[in-house]
Amino acid sequence: MNTSTNILIGGEAGQGLVTIGELLSKVLVRAGYNIVVTQSYQSRVRGGHNTFAIRVSDKEISAPKESVDILVALNEETVNIHKASVAKEGIVISSDKFKSGEGVLRPIKVPYEKFGSAKLENVASLGVVCSILGVEKGHILKLLNDRFGKKGSTIAKDNENMLNASYDWAAGQNIVFNKSPKVKTDKERYMMNGNEAIALGAISAGVKFAAFYPMTPSTSVNLSLISHAKETGMVVEQAEDEIAAINMAIGASYAGAPSMVATSGGGFALMVEGASLAGMTETPVVVVVAQRPGPATGLPTRTEQADLEFVLYSGHGEFPRAIFTPGTVEECFHLTRRAFELAEKYQGPVFILTDQYLADSFRAVDKFDGNLSRVKAGVAASEVKAPYMRYALTDNGISPRLIPGSSKHLVVAGSDEHTEGGHLTEDLDARVKMVDKRLKKMEGLSKEVSQPEYFGDASPDKLFISFGSAYGAALEAVKSLNEKGGETALLNFSQVWPLVPSTFIDKLNSAKEVVAIEGNATGQLAGLIRKTTGFEIKNKILRYDGLPITPEYILNRLAHGEPVEP
């Protein structure tokens, strides 16, 4: 794992570390590198200790790294907190005014005040890092101009001067650093994080309505939708609470708008009755749950994968659903599209389970097809028989869905058990038929399930099982073990419901040992696999300290059985 450089920028909330983190990420992506960003922040607006880590490589990378190669300290506290994590050859960039730094092997003390205004120290630190990494100055100047050019020539000029001075200063220091080789590229790529990719996946699928109540780490899905709302012609409504949000989405979907909600665990807890309503009224809705550690308010700004069972069993009564668990930013895009398609086709709730780490993790992403088709809500009136019945019994359980107002037919959707016509009924034979009809759709959903991805040795000594954002770390751990002669493999689930045993049971049976890698304390995927297959996964590597699973974490646990500081 020495093929990458891990840059960690640390400081207080309000010091602009996210701004330079994003700028540096974009510069690196434009220069052709791959990145994995991990953002760690506290539940406060100012102060505290926040970090923005960018792991950068000329090779494919898919996970964060714990040891730090370049520490950029915007305050003294950052030096003290992180100096123990700095690798032997690593450097620590800080102001020459800082008194701390005892025990730092390779300090780079920067005379920021010589370059310009103290307010622009973060831009100067960007110049120093780019110089050390060998990123061409032109790339950064262009980006600064893109970002701040409009703000008025003085600010743009000040930024440019600050960057030139700091970049040139660092170049003159002859700092020896084992940097990644230059990448030759003329390929344009995107830089985006998981939540942006979810929003864009929804836009590509033709989303027309979203309602939300702000909640970290889901809010940026809604912010991204809002930033494009005028271009997409969609409504994004800030609701009075999450209960209102999902009921609005169901109302909008009934009226013909492909609809979604994005929230986090506590907010989804409020939406649960609505999930059941979508199941009963057979109304398409895409529900994004960006996980953070619970129970209750938990750790509001950290990451966890502990809501799989919650989402799977959410909502009273029995109704069909699908749950996607994207493991990469690309999957956030494609699986959200898929969620809209399935929600429309099978007329009910489809879930996307992501988490804070993936939500905030910027990556370099190859361009998406710009001509993707949009979901069409409902069917044409010519496709239904008169008298129209919203819940007509069919072989596959799917009743033709008309949109009210689109024809002379009336559309009656009800949350009570209902007749084929949608009116409430206490006819118990009709009840049984309706339950069977709704659950029949599970067969179709099972046939269309995304197969789990298998990587590595065909009959491995060790088979890792993962889902969602743990994918990247598990994959790198397998690669690392196999490079050292191990016979390891990975089985990753990007869809955890329905679980279709025939798509993966052979893999479990042909491994000598199976190890579940999960970001929770109880091994929820392992439990679900046992429930659906009877196969018991005894060994688990679990993480629930609020931080993302890393390859080092997995390898340390394998070697020592206990967590070991990196």
Binding site: R189, Y190, M191, M192, L200, I203, G206, K208, F209, A211, H228, A229, K230, E231, T232, G233, M234, V235, E237, A239, E240, D241, I243, A244, N247, M248, I250, G251, A252, S253, Y254, A255, G256, A257, S259, E273, G274, L277, T281, K367, F368, G370, N371, L372, R374, P404, G405, S407, K408, H409, L410, V411, V412, A413, G414, S415, D416, G422, H423, L424
Partner: protein
Amino acid sequence: MLRMSDTMITNDTYKISETAWCPGCGNFSIIKSVKDALVRSGLEQDQIVFVSGIGQAAKAPHYLNVNLLDGLHGRSLPAATGVKLANPTLNVIVESGDGCSYGEGGNHFISAIRRNIDLTVIVHNNQVYGLTKGQASPTSDEGFVTKTQPDGVKSGSFNPIEVAVALKAGFVARSFSGMPAHATEMIVKGIKHKGFSLIDILQPCVTFNKVNNFGWYKKRCVELPKDHDPTNWENALKVATQWGDKIPVGVIYENSRKPYDELIYTGLNSTPKDLKSILAKYC
């Protein structure tokens, strides 16, 4: 949407089917008023969407021949908001009871008024929970004795008219099921009003409310004087607080604030920009 009808809207268009209500229930009169108001409004039948919650009153649209989204208890307002925002050309009418609208859905009631979204909200208000068999509702008077409040209700009563006027709701009216022509008139006006319209209709519950019965309301409900100016907010607020020996019915307050669905960008029928141009911003 009001448009020239290609099929005549008649009394048969919205024919009332068999109900699950007690004989003598005020709902019978209200559903007739709703039906008459729909006929009088002359709206295209297929361009009306009813949204209801849960309770005996919320069943009403099931007995009319209309588009219907019958959702969860207390959640009819957000569901109706979603319908209206998705397709602002639809006429959206919400129908439910006092428990659903003012109790379980209290937060939504306040928020929908603040949004001033163009919904017509008809609340059957009998000051008691019927379907769950006789517990106090938010509008039960203090001292009202029930099985669950055997020593009488200790909480203050929720006056929906007062709250709606205080929040400057677009249109606020009260009626009584014992005055069917008046109730019809209020609903017609509410449908016509562009913005949030509340029509609170008092009704007896013959099974569970032996205090606020037909005679009790009949004696107290008095039409507002002809010179009542519903656009005078200060005066409307005074009228809204009246409850007891004299209960004013009529259009208590009205303003011409632009409805939310006309203020925000709603482009359901617009063609989205090319995906490529949106994605290009991420390069």
